[in-house]
């Protein structure tokens, strides 16, 4: 029994049906982890990108090194590090938070590049007009550049969102009770792995397809010129 649901191993169908509620709970954790991770990646990536474009050379250079380091280390290594090493320094985070943080950190390195591409694609004339109107750098980003960059970066951001969703099962190695971890536990107890793992294998493509369709729809609803500011 897991989460109060018992398994019915009388037939394959009955077995599949009986464990679906358990996997459903795991699926929610998976989606929550992906959402939390991607939110972190969106914010942190923007911060990296703005730091790298800073006029202060020390800041932009340090950020470039940090981002490169994050990008060049495997997610699993970062995950173990956050989970097992940080507590030695008094920082103990719940497994879920550690996982979301590791995902977000890793993907922030990618999203910062997406932001960079999006900002560079805003025509020079827009920056110049904003300068001529004496907007501060903060106002230029907030009102002129980011609203115009968002429609341009949507497709790449969507790709990373889908690919992060597919990577969340990694969190099961640090005891996050996501869909894969639960499927494994069910297998451990029933000695029947085929059905739970197959279900996980089926649920992921369904989820990523839904996610892709949602992102396409979002892209289409955005005007090409930028987020309309009335």
């Amino acid at each position: 029994m897991i989460y109060g649901f018992s398994y019915d191993t009388s037939s394959t169908y009955a077995y599949a049906l009986s464990i679906l509620p358990i996997l459903g709970i795991g699926l929610i954790v998976t989606i929550e982890a992906a959402l939390a991770g991607f939110s972190i990646a969106l914010v942190l990536g923007l911060v990296w990108c703005l730091f790298r474009r800073s006029r202060f050379k020390a800041l932009s250079w340090t950020t470039a090194c940090v981002v490169e380091f994050i990008r060049d280390t495997p997610l699993l290594v970062q995950l173990f590090f956050l989970y097992y090493v940080l507590p030695d320094y008094g920082v103990t985070l719940p497994a879920f938070l550690t996982g979301a943080l590791a995902l977000g950190l890793q993907y922030s390195a990618y999203t910062s590049e997406v932001y960079r591409g999006g900002f560079d694609a805003v025509p020079r004339g827009q920056w110049e007009a904003a300068t001529a109107l004496n907007l501060s750098r903060y106002q230029v980003y907030r009102d002129i550049v980011i609203p115009q960059a968002v429609p341009r970066i949507m497709p790449s951001m969507g790709n990373y969102a889908v690919s992060m969703l597919k990577e969340t099962p990694v969190l099961s190695v640090v005891t996050v009770l996501d869909i894969l971890n639960l499927a494994n536990m069910i297998g451990d107890r029933t000695f029947e792995y085929l059905v739970p793992l197959s279900l996980v294998g089926l649920i992921f493509p369904i989820m990523t397809t839904l996610c892709s369709v949602g992102i396409r729809g979002l892209e289409r609803s955005l005007p090409k010129a930028g987020l309309a500011l009335r």
Partner: protein
């Protein structure tokens, strides 16, 4: 005579090895309307872009309303802090060849954005002033349109209103009609002509519209290779230029 509002003193501007302005001297009095003419690549637009702080310069000194562009011990390419550059920019506005309206904002929002964000005006006040300016350029009825719904000439008129909304003392026009279809040039020149009647507004205009330059300018400067080869009243420059280079240039651009 009062001290000039703009003063270039031995300003040198280089792009790498290319010298665009070479020990350039130039002064403009408050309220003066000056047109810069000359072949492309002669440095006319660079003068405007330096004034707008879009380009740094390397040597010499430049002041606007007695504020020097370079600070003593100033750092970075502009040798000034961002704060100092923003103080300079409160005096200057610019109208670009390619309009550069913000495509994601309505016409009204384009005009009120900076007055609200930079001058700190209340929205209602900024909007009523913006509508006044849009009326001045004949586009008050288009206030809720997006730039993509306007013709080039209309976009440029909005861009002029947007620049005026910041109440600059100096307004720079960088080939404001060069990107327009011929039949749309007139409406933009009409707006600039009306502005030229403003006694206090200092205007610097880079243009290839020679007849227009002759009509509205107090002074015409002929540029070649990063220097002013000849300057004078429009009548003098267009009717009896002294320099052979000026004659040559005018012959090549004016229909005889």
């Amino acid at each position: 005579m009062t001290s000039p509002i703009i003063r270039f003193d031995q300003v040198t501007k280089r792009f790498g090895d290319l010298v665009v302005l070479d020990r350039f001297d130039f002064a403009v009095a408050q309220g003066e309307k000056v047109t810069l003419i000359g072949p492309s690549g002669s440095g006319k637009s660079t003068v405007l872009r330096i004034l707008m702080t879009l380009e740094p310069f390397q040597d010499g000194s430049l002041t606007i309303a007695d504020i020097p562009y370079h600070q003593p011990n100033g750092r970075g390419a502009f040798r000034a802090t961002e704060q100092h550059l923003r103080k300079i920019r409160t005096n200057v506005g610019m109208v670009f060849q390619s309009f550069n309206l913000f495509p994601h904002m309505t016409v009204l929002r384009n005009v009120v954005e900076a007055p609200i964000a930079v001058l700190g005006l209340k929205r209602a006040e900024a909007e009523s002033r913006a509508i006044e300016l849009l009326r001045l350029v004949g586009l008050a009825d288009k206030k809720d349109h997006f730039p993509s719904q306007l013709s080039g000439g209309q976009q440029q008129r909005v861009a002029i209103a947007r620049a005026l909304a910041m109440r600059p003392r100096v307004l720079l026009f960088d080939e404001p009609t060069s990107a327009l279809d011929p039949q749309l040039v007139g409406e933009v020149l009409g707006v600039i002509r009306a502005l030229a009647q403003e006694h206090d507004l200092t205007m610097l205009l880079v243009t290839h519209e020679m007849r227009f330059a002759r009509e509205i300018s107090d002074r015409v400067c002929f540029f070649d290779k990063g220097r002013i080869v000849e300057q004078g009243s429009p009548d003098q420059i267009f009717s009896k230029p002294n320099q052979p280079r000026t004659r040559e240039f005018l012959n090549s651009v004016l229909p005889s």
